[in-house]
Symmetry: C2
Subunit: 199 residues, 2 copies
């Protein structure tokens, strides 16, 4: 009789995380109270304590799910055998080029703003930033090692420049979707990569 | 007897905007309720209606003050007579390279996240983004026109690339001040500008 309960517990937590996403996307993070999330998930406020002991823990869990999704996309990546093409495809994974990725980014921006003042979210936000940095750093290091035209690149400066470019583009795509379109984003990322190769 | 009242009204609105900033920076935007802002400013909740008819109007006014400050910094800019140096100095004005600018950016990030779900803030957020874009666009156009090495740059792609880089760097400087330091930001901006000149 224990197994189903454990499965239910995990499923219920994920269900609550998804309800949290819906509330944040529709009404903003400041409306994502325990009460509103419970209502969205069709649960009583009292039963919430069974799944999450604090509000921050619920938000952190929802944030972690976004991060897990992005990591899963990276893990399942199949190399094309061409380094430049691989880098391009991996960078596209980090950008809101489709509806699902845009939804993740919207929730992420709300979390990021809240992480500035909530220590419980800060460490997770930093952890994800560092995962992003490690991924971008791997791309730059690979270019320096394998592309003859890239041997003189400054690894630290190019890593931080590309990281800032990607997050800036993601932010603008969410805030101004009519102006910063997927087509424009792809052109900018390709141009940036080419400018590194011509260094 | 009317003049002092008008002056007081303007001053009181600015005082409330500053109280709003302090609450947002200390506790996050979701704590910036009318009640908490009134308490911070030392006013009664009832008297708030005299200065702002809605919560969104108060937030929009506070956001507008950040935008006005940045514009004032641009307006008072004195050209060095050297285009590259002018562009560099103007870009530095848009980045959180000192404490005051960092505080403005923190409030700005919180507003930006809220603007995603609050139509009253959205139009102002878009207006400021477009002012930023116009400034960066002027820089790129000037480079194309006056710097021989830049004549082949794609104005639209380079404008959006620089705009995304600046906002990405600002975001990272706020989120990870120990990692993305003012020195690193200056190096990246100088390197980006040089890479445009060498195009």
């Amino acid at each position: 009789m224990d197994m189903p309960k454990i499965v239910d517990h995990k499923k219920q937590r994920e269900k609550l995380a998804e309800a949290t996403w819906r509330v944040i996307r529709r009404d903003g993070l400041e409306r994502a109270s325990v009460r509103n999330i419970a209502a969205e998930a069709g649960l009583s406020v009292g039963s919430m304590r069974h799944y999450f002991s604090t509000h921050s823990e619920l938000l952190a869990f929802s944030m972690k799910l976004v991060s897990n999704k992005v990591n899963a996309q990276f893990q399942s990546f199949v190399s094309t055998g061409n380094l430049q093409e691989d880098i391009l495809q991996l960078l596209y994974e980090l950008l809101p080029l489709d509806k699902e990725r845009s939804a993740e980014m919207e929730v992420w921006i709300a979390f990021t703003a809240k992480a500035l003042v909530d220590p419980a979210l800060q460490s997770l936000s930093l952890q994800v930033s560092n995962e992003m940095r490690a991924g971008i750093s791997w791309m730059i290091d690979s270019l320096i090692q394998y592309e003859p035209g890239c041997s003189h690149l400054d690894a630290k400066i190019e890593t931080e420049r590309l990281l800032a470019l990607i997050d800036g583009l993601a932010l603008h795509a969410i805030m101004q979707p009519d102006h910063v379109t997927p087509e424009l984003i792809r052109s900018i990322v390709i141009h940036h990569l080419q400018s590194l190769l011509k260094h």
